[in-house]
Symmetry: C3
């Protein structure tokens, strides 16, 4: 590829040195982002002007297009159908369906996703430690899939190829049944091979297991970090997000209240990059890695997570106003992993 054949912005080619890219900054079309064009073109750059990646899109993706809304996903906890077992334990039942769908990840940019319950991240399953969890998994996708839970459970319920139900073929189904152990914030995802692709296509979500007695009252929300490898090269990502849609919470800031405890269940399902990070502006949070302790391990404004890692953040905003949050891996922020909290009285 040469600069002539694709004069548009690419990862290396966007010369941002002197230009000022504000929040309402540069706009460019879907072709450059979603196409199969290689990113590493050898376009020229001036000495002393740094290249770098950024896009700020032309507005927010209309949630009606995808059939799911990151603003609603944030606080959408699925407690399942609840009943009591003969031995007195609580049983929670869900049906989760896999499907294929081209979703819009930026205005005009389509991506062929594989989804749990028609959304990504999939439904946030929520229970209390010791509950019995029964998840009926129906595969309506054209590809074999599984559900693999980060929890303590027997090997036949592990949702990996060759164990228990193993791969669930298109048109088939299985039922996973596990205990809710241990309390904390966990993840579940498809574990079919190639693992990286099944995750990168969108098949992951949160599993919250509350401690017996619960946690202190708070405004709770779930954020799962991910990336979009729009060139399908398996080498990196061209867009980054929290809860799937790049810049969604920049255009639709998360509404929270001053002096009210906010609890964020944060996980990282980013493929191809070694780590992700979360930085909150002008405020500090307590961090509980994996959420398995009621005592925080750190009080900070910046943490990192490798893939599969997750934790709970607790923050109280002492000031009203808009506060940015984003990966402190600047490239990820420039490419979509950025949003705002809007704090009101």
């Amino acid at each position: 590829m040469t600069a002539d054949s694709n004069p548009g912005p690419t990862r290396r080619g966007f010369l941002a040195g002197g230009a000022l890219l504000g929040v309402a900054g540069a706009t460019f079309g879907a072709r450059q982002l979603a196409g199969a064009a290689p990113l590493h073109s050898e376009e020229s750059h001036s000495h002393g002007v740094m290249s770098g990646a950024t896009f700020r899109g032309s507005g927010v993706v209309d949630p009606a297009i995808n059939g799911f809304d990151p603003t609603k996903i944030l606080r959408d906890f699925d407690y399942g159908k609840v009943s009591t077992l003969p031995n007195g334990r609580t049983l929670r039942e869900w049906t989760v369906t896999a499907s294929d769908k081209d979703i819009e990840i930026a205005p005009g940019v389509k991506f062929p996703s594989w989804l749990f319950n028609g959304r990504t991240p999939g439904p946030t399953l929520r229970a209390t430690e010791g509950d019995r969890l029964r998840i009926r998994f129906i595969n309506n996708s054209k590809h074999p899939h599984t559900m693999h839970f980060h929890s303590i459970h027997p090997s036949e319920m592990d949702g990996v190829p060759g164990q228990g139900a193993g791969l669930v073929a298109p048109g088939s189904e299985t039922t996973y049944e596990i205990d809710a152990e241990p309390f904390g914030f966990h993840l579940y995802h498809c574990h079919a091979n190639p693992l990286a692709e099944h995750i990168a296509r969108g098949m992951y979500a949160g599993l919250i297991i509350d401690p017996d007695g619960g946690r202190p009252d708070a405004d709770e929300m779930v954020m799962i970090q991910n990336g979009w490898n729009t060139t399908f090269d398996g080498e990196g990502n061209q867009m980054y997000a929290v809860n799937a849609i790049p810049f969604h919470y920049m255009y639709a800031p998360i509404q929270v209240k001053k002096n009210k405890l906010v609890r964020i269940y944060l996980g990282n399902m980013l493929e191809y990059d070694p780590i992700n990070s979360f930085h909150l502006h002008a405020n500090f949070f307590k961090y509980y890695p994996t959420g398995t302790s009621l005592v925080h391990s750190e009080f900070t404004d910046t943490i990192i997570q490798g893939q599969g890692q997750r934790g709970i953040l607790e923050v109280t905003f002492p000031f009203a106003g808009k506060f940015m949050f984003h990966a402190h891996k600047s490239e990820f922020a420039d490419l979509g992993w950025m949003g705002f909290f809007e704090v009101t009285e």
Copy 2:
């Protein structure tokens, strides 16, 4: 390079989109993995089919070929020759010899390694805090080497160029003598320049310093994470492993007992990649970073380690069965950093 000149699978070229790569999945030859062929060929890929790296080999490497067996290395602790000094302290003495050897890292794939005591990782040296450690180091390799210990010791015992014995020339030897401080799980490795190469060639191992009084009884094992840069480009790895041989513990699952405490001394000596990670399926472990505290810092199923980092994991398996463990950096898992625990009654 073009697709025509090398039609075989490469890191980017292996089109895994629709295919299902199970445990006994795709096999390809040694040439593509071990040769000097660049990985970043510009082969075409279909829109919507992700490229990605994977190999599952054609079986396990016969330990007789290399003269060491990852299954035995796992639980092989070398306490040295023990005596008592006039002041009552325990003296432990070892002889460690460096040598060059072409080892087989996958069936048919040879790699020109540099080794401590003919194996990689080298011998796991084990002592109790406060012991005196005397290590006679003989260099039978064609290259200068050192032994650098992660411990508290005088600068002349640091095993770096220009200090104390400095570089130990081929055919020469030196003796390192240090106190076993502090208790924890540490690493030692060659610190000759270029450092990255001497580590990547295989010159590293674990140093366990037990706390006075020891730790609770457990089934103990050592795992050192590494990678193999089979293209010798110093830019990345084409295979990944724990204890040197990719997929060894997939073909030879680690045998452990249900309800018995398992203690894993886990270190990361991976070159060229920024982090490594460890994920255990269906079970959670207590994590003690560096092993220098008797109180764990986290209870989780996924941790990350930068190079030189290490820690102790404690896990009790409540269910019998086979449980996968692997890097949750999916690419590393696909390229060899994957295995199983087989839990029996």
Copy 3:
């Protein structure tokens, strides 16, 4: 680019396999390092000889050339102009000026930097929790800039585009006024877009907020890790350092006293790479992530930090001598992120 057109050492092209690169090892000129030549040339390499990056320069950069000295920056704490407010609180006032300057980052290698107060890292601002901080920011650079503090403060003082004073245009100024909260070791940096470039150009520094009552007496110093993207491609770094000048503390070892507590305020402002790391030879330190607790979280010799992360290290050297410290990401160490402590009685 071909090997013919640039036969000098490049990141991949420096064949270090058999050669021994000691501390006073290979020297090469500024052109290869500082020029806009792409690093990823396809030079040939022999099978079995690893490529790798390294440079050790031809000596130390004369501090007079840049007008700042990393040895002085290490222990240079700026407490500001101190007065008492009517309500009894301490007010601290600083003036910080942005400017553009070509600095010498290795002998003969110039880099067009953007600086706070003519140096990088900028002045280490230091206060006690609860103080009022007033920072007059004057932009004498040709580019718009801001000062963004990692602390708890109102959104209009956040130093980001579109909030409060927003971007400060060339020739303009603004005043930030915040409370010193919470205690710990924090960072401040320019938050103009593109963020990665403004950080990578040199616009960052430390903010120490001491706990009420202070910390135990110690020999204190500040180290901010960074990289230099001398090809301006926004894809990676060609040099690495702590406190800006690669290898400075190798040529000018940090002087400390045996058995005296040393406290290091360590932060990571490295762009383009996912993590950085710090390894201290032959000694262990207590680590306080973000410095927000008076209880350390770890006792180790190796930690990693993502960008924006920082922490406090406390170490007492029991032996006199020279002790290396460096990134345990070996490539970073080979490319400048290496130094010595010289411990005397």
